[in-house]
Amino acid sequence: MKKVLFVALFAALFSTVQAQDAPKLYTLPSPFERYTHFLATARMSGAAPVGSFSNSFIDKASLRNFSISIEWVLRNSPLSVGAELGTSYFQKRLPRALYVSGNETLSAVQTRSFTQNPLQLFVNYHFLNKSSMIQPYAQLSGGISIADYSLYYGTLVEQKQKVAPAYGIGLGSKFLFKKDGSLGADVRVKYEGTTFKYGYIDNGTSTINASVGLFYRWW
């Protein structure tokens, strides 16, 4: 009988201990899951012109592309919204050639450059929750791009600055350095386009950008 009582008592005590252990602190949702929080990302990217932009103006890829973004990661939602400001630069040089226009013939080394500074609002859809170490997402963006078209014949330049609508669609992923941490890396592949038309660019600009970045998040 004593043995039975002892076992029952032990079992009761053990279960009590278990019950007290249940609400452990580390099982609480992360503050990044419980609250809307902010996220700032700095990226650098390689970009390759595609489509008619590549065929008619510049087909050379560029590594001179940077951006920063600020993001609001919404609570109880897979979405985040934000704004991104970037710059990208493309350049191509053609050997000396003759350019005939009507009665005029021009011989020159041609240098083409295209700079754009897109400012876009974006929406990210995250496929996993905010405590996940890997957070893949899809992105849609739209805004404006301050574009600078330059066509040099030797040292003579024909320039056009214009603000054009810009848009983009991308797939990426965030990688947290530490669970529930504030720092992480961001990798993204994005198609970006503008409706800029001038000179050789007769059907807007299109580029594929592959970026790596670092982000910091806080709440």
Binding site: F38, A40, R64, F66, I68, I70, A83, L85, G86, T87, Y89, Q91, R96, L98, G102, N103, E104, T105, L106, S107, A108, V109, T111, S113, T115, N117, S150, Y152, Y153, G154, T155, L156, E158
Partner: protein, 200 residues
């Protein structure tokens, strides 16, 4: 928080705009040279046989005009003569009434475009008493740098109604090496090489 974000974006915008690159920084002097030629499609170049070249270069600088015959000017005139001859034209003196007149100018820091240019040509010493008429299709790039301007004037068919001579061909040479004797042959040969229709 809005102020912080605004500040971040403003700083970034200034930072990004300061990264602007000069696309032609690495262009060599020879590659910087630009040759622009215009032709009169109604002109029959095979009908011209003789030509004469001015004895000095007209210098036009900020609405002032003069003449120069420095070493580089002499080089330019000599090279023009050799190119004209190799294209089949015969050089004569102005008093032998050439079919074509070649004028050479060095234009600096001027906003002159071709429509106002005839006022600078009154001193052209061929004794016809005519001004020069430019066809309406002439178009030029506007810059403030110096450039060479070579024009070929039709003395064979003067316009007796408005007393003008027609410019049947002209050339501009621009770029950072135009003041160097080293590039004279390249420059002059190039403007003729791209104007094969002048060849007889």
């Amino acid at each position: 928080m809005t102020k912080v974000f605004s500040l971040i974006f403003l700083t970034a915008l200034i930072g990004l705009s300061s990264c602007t690159k000069d696309p032609i920084k690495d262009l060599t002097t020879e590659d910087s040279l630009v040759y622009i030629t215009n032709r009169d499609t109604s002109a029959n170049y095979k009908a011209y046989k003789t030509f004469s070249v001015v004895d000095s270069v007209t210098v036009i600088e900020n609405n002032r005009r003069g003449a120069a015959l420095l070493e580089i000017d002499r080089d330019v005139l000599t090279r023009i003569i050799s190119n004209m001859k190799s294209m089949g034209y015969v050089q004569v003196t102005p008093d032998q009434k050439p079919d074509l007149g070649i004028n050479v100018s060095w234009i600096t820091n001027s906003q002159i475009n071709v429509t106002t240019m005839p006022s600078y040509w009154g001193g052209y010493g061929y004794g016809y008493g005519y001004g020069f008429g430019y066809p309406s299709y002439y178009q030029y790039y506007q810059t403030s740098e110096s450039y060479w301007h070579v024009s070929m004037v039709d003395f064979k068919n003067p316009n007796t109604v408005d007393k003008t001579f027609k410019v049947v061909w002209d050339a501009q040479i621009r770029g950072s090496g135009i003041g160097s004797r080293e590039f004279v042959n390249t420059m002059i040969d190039s403007i003729y090489a791209q104007s094969g229709y002048l060849k007889k």
